[in-house]
């Protein structure tokens, strides 16, 4: 565990020195802010419309959570699909190219600890991003009356989603020494997980049930609506576990080739 933290510490320092972390956080918050602004404008416009139409029934049904936070979280999730490959692409590919891989693999450190260290580092970055993005609901709390529990559940979902993305990204980075290949295959895998249930939308049966279970947004959407169910947590944890296991195998495979 200590070794994993040593590696994580170096990784995090590298994120901030390089300065990938700042760029990624800026882009994430900038886009998030833009979505937030747009959604809030829309909310405001609709509210004024109903006020002008003197329609109290419709006004009653307006909901900050549903009209602002939900779409905001879904949009930020899409931004993560694009940003996470950029965060994770260098993790193993860069080490292989620059030769530092030999330092890591000849040190008295288990491959599992190397993978854990890299995962912790990227996870910390994701956590920082999501926590900073909590500024948006905070603004709503200060000037409105949204449901805090529902928002917290959605943000928790965003963290799980980010961690699952990171695990997939680590795997694609571990199979190549080319960062662009790592990033593009990660992006492809994440996008596929996003749209995997599309063919299932029309049909029923076990097959489409299975595809729907695999689909990331299905599970994320439940959490965004404020429902934290074991089923979804298990799904995210399984994606993380499977991807990290594959990463560990792929790092270890240098030793059997």
């Amino acid at each position: 565990m200590r070794n994993a933290l040593v590696i994580a510490g170096r990784e995090i320092a590298a994120y901030f020195v390089q300065p990938i972390a700042y760029v990624v956080m800026t882009v994430f918050l900038l886009l998030g802010g833009w979505f937030f602004f747009a959604l809030l404008r829309r909310f405001d416009l609709i509210q004024q419309m109903y006020l002008a139409m003197q329609n109290p029934a419709m006004l009653q049904r307006m909901n900050l959570n549903q009209m602002v936070i939900e779409p905001l979280l879904h949009n930020m999730a899409i931004v993560l699909v694009i940003l996470v490959p950029a965060i994770t692409m260098r993790s193993f590919a860069e080490e292989k190219r620059s030769g530092t891989y030999e330092l890591l693999l000849t040190a008295p450190v288990r491959t599992g600890e190397v993978v854990a260290g890299k995962f912790i580092a990227a996870a910390v970055l994701i956590l920082v991003m999501v926590v900073l993005a909590a500024i948006f609901p905070l603004i709503l709390v200060l000037f409105g009356n949204p449901e805090i529990g529902v928002m917290a559940s959605g943000y928790l979902g965003l963290i799980f989603l980010g961690l699952a993305f990171v695990a997939v990204g680590l795997f694609t980075s571990s199979v190549t020494q080319n960062q662009i290949i790592a990033a593009i295959s990660c992006f492809g895998a994440l996008l596929l997980l996003y749209v995997i249930s599309w063919p299932a939308e029309t049909g029923g049966g076990t097959w489409s049930g299975f595809l729907r279970y695999l689909s990331l947004p299905e599970h994320f959407a439940t959490m965004v609506r404020g429902i934290i169910s074991t089923k979804d947590i298990v799904y995210f944890l399984s994606v993380i576990a499977v991807a990290l296991f594959l990463t560990q195998r792929s790092v270890e495979s240098v030793r059997w080739r």
């Binding site: 070794n3 040593v6 590696i7 170096r10 320092a13 590298a14 020195v17 390089q18 620059s98 030769g99 530092t100 891989y101 030999e102 330092l103 890591l104 693999l105 000849t106 040190a107 008295p108 450190v109 288990r110 240098v254 030793r255 059997w256 080739r257």
Partner: protein, 258 residues
Amino acid sequence: MIEVKNLTKIYGTFVAIKDVSFQAKKGQILGFLGPNGAGKTTTMRIISGFMPATAGTVLVDGLDIFTQSLEARRRIGYLPENPPLYNEMRVEAYLRFAGKLRGLSRGDLDAAVEHVLEVCGLREVSSRICGQLSKGYRQRVGLAGAIIHEPQVLILDEPTIGLDPRQIRDIRALIRELGANRTIVLSTHILPEVSQICDKVVIINEGHVVLEEALDQLPAGTSLEDVFLNAIARERGHEDTEAEEELEEVGAGRSSAQ
């Protein structure tokens, strides 16, 4: 201290090294010689535990590098051909990281970093960024990282390549010093380097050992160069004839085709 037994490494169908065996005792500096592409780096990567052999074993201090890998790796310092530096890190931070990775405790770390900064002459660059260092300094930082945990065994892959004459002299002096109470395996294709600093020489060619001899056991009056060229030429000898035969066959094939 190091026992290399019948190492064979096959990449797909390419045989990189075949049945390589040699040993080095404590206090010995072993020069690992061979032409480019002879399998030096492959052998050293196997000894250092970076990758396994297809067959054969390596014992470091009696520990098997494959089955007791973590314990064995703790005793090894390895400097690959390209020093494994993180280009964005400062020299001192890099050395601290290398030390922590090798399991140095917080208490020992400061002293160890101070020590290698001194020994490798890195004091004046300790706060520079690794990516901006000259080749000579990179090599020395790599070496400092490899010896920071006071390993019993040092594996150095072409440690003097790309250095200027003064730096070469410094590094050689440093290696001699380090070799006094350790086992060092040093690969090179610079022959004078071996006669200057090594106690023992192993010559490898096309993936197998053609000579293993203590330097003072070499026949008097023959230079290492002669020994090296002879050993390789003996090999080349029958291969050249094979190659010629092959060429003749090809030639014959062509003329018959015409």
